[in-house]
């Protein structure tokens, strides 16, 4: 694999990249190359690299490729970096996040209904951590704010895209119904869920 100049170049890019490198970014560097061709090469490189390397690996995260250390070496890396394990999200926050991830765009009242709790919210924490973002207002009475997950959410949980989460098809049938009372759309503005 190391004799392949193109693969080596791709690897060099992945080595210096601080953020997941998307196919579009690769395409910018190699405008003459076919996009599918590049994708195939990056994929092949990842496979080859990961089969040989034990300490680091190339992974698909948030729609791009990035090089990361493997989790089994976390203690050593942590010792070197002198970091303590980062604070994890609370179970309440994770539950809220799960509802948002599957139901997005979803409003606060809808989240609370699923969680069976009224009142306290972890929305704020999640917004501060940039794991969720607002997605406009729902055109129902009260025009509640809708929320959806961010790219940071994918990075945080090491997901390439939302489809990597196991499908909870049954969920869709249950709370999928719109509230009975709907206000007339006042403006031409549409709330379209933008998938990251």
């Amino acid at each position: 694999m190391l004799k392949d100049a193109f693969a080596s170049e791709l690897l060099a890019i992945l080595f210096v990249a601080q953020e997941p490198v998307t196919l579009e970014q690769f395409q910018e560097i190699y405008p003459d190359q076919d996009a599918t061709q590049i994708e195939a090469r990056v994929r092949q490189l990842s496979e080859d690299f990961n089969s040989v390397q034990d300490a680091v690996e190339i992974r698909q995260v948030a729609g791009g490729y990035r090089m990361t250390t493997r989790p089994q070496y976390h203690e050593t890396v942590r010792a070197y970096l002198r970091t303590r394990p980062s604070a994890k999200l609370s179970m309440a926050a994770l539950e809220t996040l799960a509802v948002i991830a599957y139901k997005q765009p979803v409003t606060f009242p809808e989240i609370m209904e699923i969680r069976g709790i009224k009142g306290t919210s972890t929305i704020r924490t999640l917004l501060e951590k940039k794991l969720i973002q607002t997605r406009g207002r729902k055109k129902v009475v009260g025009r509640p704010m809708m929320y959806g997950t961010t790219r940071e959410f994918l990075v945080h949980f090491g997901l390439n895209d939302l489809s990597e989460l196991p499908t909870l098809k049954e969920l869709e049938e249950l709370l999928g119904e719109e509230p009975a009372i709907k206000s007339q759309p006042a403006t031409g503005e549409t709330e379209r869920p933008t998938d990251n």
Binding site: A17, Q18, T68, T69, L94, G116, I117, E170
Partner: protein, 233 residues
């Protein structure tokens, strides 16, 4: 189910959490919940919380009433006039529980993923954590420079000083007394012409009232809405 049933106190997020716990712990078929038993256990739990002086959140009470409602509905014989199959009163609750459980599972999954991701480092993300024990190698000049930066930053802040007016009744009383020593009388409109602040004006009026009460000044007015003449007694 006997009454010796004990629930371990766990931190339940909400009534659905608690109900699920009761159901799952006893391996009850969720589609056929023995509603009377579960209601009893649920209420016992709430009682326990009350005994421990834990404030029971309103949500828990709402669920209690829902459970009792379902229980009573199930006790009632079905109306023979209704030929159609009557909907199970537990159905809605069961659906809610199942939905809730799914998201609990999803949350658990996210938790696992997060655990793994927190053990993984990407390039460039390795900022050393601030070590409090570590000393910063700084000279006096660094300190002066840092201070200078702060001062500069402060300069840029657009600010406006709003001086707080301070005028006491005592001051105003003295002022009027002094005025009446040099003048035999003056008019109230004089204060208005001075364009003094509202606070000043209020204090002035108060002072005049005070002086009138103590018979130090006399107020004259030719007619209603006329200017008021203030003179010493």
């Amino acid at each position: 189910m006997n009454t010796e049933y004990k629930v371990e106190l766990e931190a339940f997020e909400g009534p659905l959490d608690l109900l699920l716990h009761l159901i799952r712990q006893q391996e009850i078929d969720i589609y056929d919940i023995p509603i009377a038993t579960i209601t009893d256990q649920y209420l016992q739990y709430l009682q326990m919380m009350a005994d421990l002086n834990v404030t029971v959140a309103g949500d828990f009470l709402v669920m209690a009433s829902t459970l009792i409602y379902i229980k009573s509905k199930m006790l009632l014989p079905t109306d023979p006039a209704v030929l159609d199959e009557v909907e199970d009163p537990r159905r809605e609750l069961v659906q809610q529980l199942l939905e809730h459980e799914k998201f609990k599972d999803a949350a658990q999954l996210l938790y696992e993923r997060e655990t793994v991701e927190l053990a993984v480092w990407a390039r460039g993300a390795n900022e050393f954590e601030e070590d409090e024990k570590e000393m910063v190698n700084a000279t006096l000049f660094d300190l002066v420079h840092a201070f200078h930066t702060i001062v500069e930053r402060y300069k840029d802040q657009i600010g406006m000083d709003v001086p707080r007016e301070t005028i006491t009744l005592e001051q105003k009383l003295d002022e009027i007394r002094r005025l009446l020593k040099v003048k035999r009388y003056f008019y109230f409109s004089m204060f208005l012409r001075q364009k003094i602040s509202r606070l000043h004006l209020v204090v002035t009026v108060l002072a005049l009232l005070e002086l009138t009460k103590s018979h130090e000044v006399r107020l004259f007015q030719k007619g209603i809405f006329e200017d008021i003449r203030i003179s010493a007694c």
